[in-house]
Symmetry: C2
Subunit: 228 residues, 2 copies
Amino acid sequence: MSTVNKKKAVILLSGGLDSATCLAIANKQGYACYAVSFDYGQRHKAELLAAKRLADELGVEGFKTIRIDMDGIGGSALTDDSIAVPEGGVAEGIPVTYVPARNTIFLSLALGWAEVLDADDIFIGVNAVDYSGYPDCRPEFVSAFEKLANVATKKGVETHSLSIKTPLIDMSKADIINKGISLGVDYGLTVSCYQANDAGEACGKCDSCRLRTEGFAAAGVPDPTRYR
Amino acid sequence: MSTVNKKKAVILLSGGLDSATCLAIANKQGYACYAVSFDYGQRHKAELLAAKRLADELGVEGFKTIRIDMDGIGGSALTDDSIAVPEGGVAEGIPVTYVPARNTIFLSLALGWAEVLDADDIFIGVNAVDYSGYPDCRPEFVSAFEKLANVATKKGVETHSLSIKTPLIDMSKADIINKGISLGVDYGLTVSCYQANDAGEACGKCDSCRLRTEGFAAAGVPDPTRYR
């Protein structure tokens, strides 16, 4: 099928394991993919380079990094250097790595780009099984955002066709990894660590590293992560 | 009442007539106001200086200008210089000055700041009477965003207390102007024009100028706008 006839989708691409798999799934489903990553003042800027590499490797029609001044708002260990990233293991409740309204902000900007592209579908790699307990990774959130999108925009009001796609929502981390491998994702290109260094090397101790390491073990697949 | 006991609110402050009135109303209602304006690549950057002046003049506890790369997304006469601002009068339908997902993006960032401040209320000066027909100025949009806010955030999930306040929603432009004057708003400080020059002087021809000029005439109040 030529690009011209493909349905377009905007893909949120952080550079981590989940969003890389999400992009591979959208590609496999035949979408012309437009990937977007966000430079929001996060500690782990290495994920932005990873996002660009993944976009090149997996193939996209367009790629954009949008800068947002979220570090001016703060309130998270990921955007405020004075709050330490927890290293003691995934605990109950919403952790300090939660970034206030992050996925709402990211989906809003993706929605704006989708409208300009005339794309109906936005893919986000949220997962409510092996996750950090963030409220904006749950199905209730996704459903509320989809409703909003269809009253908030010219396209939504005219077509009611805007859809937020979450192919990973019910999958375990091991399922996600196996799915990605079947689609040819090179997880050695991805960076998940909340405090990855500039070379993309992981700490191995933060929640994101722990969920990822356990995922590779459960999937029975060699872990390609470069630990420092 | 001392600042310490005041309820906090985040106020979207564009520098125009409506948001200035909205801030004056929130102040009058006794809120400790935190105003936010957005540098999103708009033509009419003069409104950002106006927002800062209004925050100083009307009084706020905090003021922030957040930069967002929306000009990289485009799709509007306000963010893409190759699309002309219409000057022929307010027409039927959604005009080319509509900015894809703008109020969704602005409210999302305001929501993030509200959560960090522990503020329940966000004020937005949308108005669905004398307005340009933008979908994200309607009560359906506001209601959908409020629902989203309460599932999207830690604060929302824990308290269900987040509220989007729209004191101007059912008011005519003349009513808004009379309300603002009763609260001491100096409309000479506001900039509404979509193509205001750097000195803040208005074109007198765009939809925003027309709605404003007619508003002052209907209110029977001298129009303090500086036309070029």
